[in-house]
């Protein structure tokens, strides 16, 4: 028979495992959909040389307005971008789920740690959107 603390630990581990499995599964399905749409709707990609493409690459900062614009003009690229964003958000979701589970199970001693990490991640979003020059 499991003790209360063991049962709590198992609940936390299972919740984290489920979040990660679902998150990465959904994200990659969206990315794959984007690849299929792009390759089937853009015949030029089968002829254009990759060397020219990689040389012309330039940073295109991710913004919601850009994603909405791409959804109309290049839905495949928009799906890929959204899927990649979901991939990146999956570990963040597991951190959020961990925090909720810690509150739910009243295991407060780890809350400052997860709270600190979530705060830093929020700071990294701000740094990404408004980079220091």
């Amino acid at each position: 028979m499991k003790s209360d603390s063991e049962a709590t630990a198992h609940r936390l581990e299972n919740a984290i495992a489920l979040t990660l499995t679902l998150g990465v599964g959904i994200a990659v399905a969206v990315v794959l959909t984007g690849i299929i749409i792009t390759l089937s709707s853009e015949p030029a990609l089968w002829h254009l040389e990759s060397a020219g493409y990689v040389q012309s690459l330039h940073p295109v900062p991710l913004r919601p307005a850009l994603l909405l614009h791409e959804l109309r003009t290049a839905p495949g690229i928009a799906a890929m971008t959204a899927g990649l964003f979901l991939v990146i958000c999956t570990p963040l979701a597991r951190l959020a789920v961990s925090t909720i589970m810690l509150v739910h199970t009243r295991e407060y001693r780890f809350l400052p740690l997860t709270g600190f990490v979530l705060l830093l991640i929020a700071a990294s979003v701000v740094l990404g959107i408004h980079p220091a020059h």
Binding site: N14, L48, T90, P91
Partner: protein, 278 residues
């Protein structure tokens, strides 16, 4: 090579990287970054942006298994992630300042370090682990069932707070180079925190996702994650990591280790050459 064919080639390489990465406990980035930079001639900043997505996919996929089985020490990860995330933010900010030549050399040094740690890994097999005693009440104590040894392994991390500055450094490297930094974390978790090998591998794999996600957010909003490069990698690496996890029990780890050491050293030589030419 057309863009579409390059995307398919990238997906195939990512399957291989996911397979090798999950078999050998290394991030798939050690194969993906050289392929992107040396074969497709992609700017190393975009290569890092794409490979960091691969690290998240590998970590999330493996982390789910390790969390459920208790191999990843989740409570220890809560502590270590504090240092690692600060390092990841620092590294992602430094990446814009540092020159491509420096990144090539740094990556070559990481490859040599990974090879050296793999050569020395058999010596660490018998290294002391933190055995719990009756008086131990560490909140970071862990246990998991080792299917190979058919027993439950219990341990108490030794000086867990010393791990924080260590993962701060590996977080910087991870963000700078787009690697998982497992090659740095695992040997250090073994020697400093006295974790059993499987717990070190599991905890490192579980943690690197959050480190990579932190820097990936900065890279994404800055525009360094190119969908046409990162998307096929994300799909391929997930397939490879799943195949690797199923293949692992049937393969001779020692033979794979030796083959991969040679590969790492060859890649380190190539990266150094490109650093000199950059």
């Amino acid at each position: 090579m057309s863009i579409a064919v390059a995307m398919i080639a990238l997906a195939v390489v990512a399957v291989l990287a996911g397979l090798v990465g999950s078999l050998l406990g290394l991030g798939g980035a050690v194969l993906i970054i050289p392929f992107l930079t040396l074969v497709l001639h992609v700017n190393i900043h975009y290569a890092i942006g794409a490979s960091i997505v691969a690290v998240i996919c590998t970590s999330s996929s493996a982390g789910a298994v390790y969390a459920r089985s208790g191999i990843a020490n989740i409570r220890l990860a809560f502590l270590l992630e504090c240092g690692a995330v600060v390092g990841a933010v620092t590294g992602a900010l430094l990446a814009t300042i540092l020159a491509a030549r420096f990144l090539f050399f740094l990556f070559a040094a990481i490859l040599v370090y990974s090879a050296a740690s793999m050569i020395l890994s058999h010596r660490r097999e018998n290294q002391r682990i933190g055995i719990p005693t009756a008086g131990d009440a560490s909140p970071f104590a862990g246990h998991f069932y080792d299917a190979q040894e058919k027993r439950t392994v219990s341990y108490v991390p030794h000086r867990p707070y010393l791990g924080v500055p260590l993962v701060f450094a590996s977080g910087i490297l991870s963000a700078l180079l787009g690697v998982g930094a497992g090659g740095i974390n695992v040997p250090a978790f073994r020697s400093i925190l006295h974790l059993p090998l499987k717990a070190a591998l599991g905890t490192s794999s579980y943690m690197i996702g959050i480190i990579a996600a932190t820097s990936a957010l900065i890279y994404t909003f800055r525009g360094d994650v190119e969908p046409l490069l990162a998307a096929p990698i994300a799909c391929g690496i997930l397939v490879g990591a799943r195949i690797g996890a199923k293949l692992l029990p049937r393969l001779q780890h020692q033979w794979l280790n030796r083959a991969f050491i040679v590969l790492l050293l060859l890649l380190a030589g190539e990266m150094t050459f490109h650093g000199l030419a950059a």
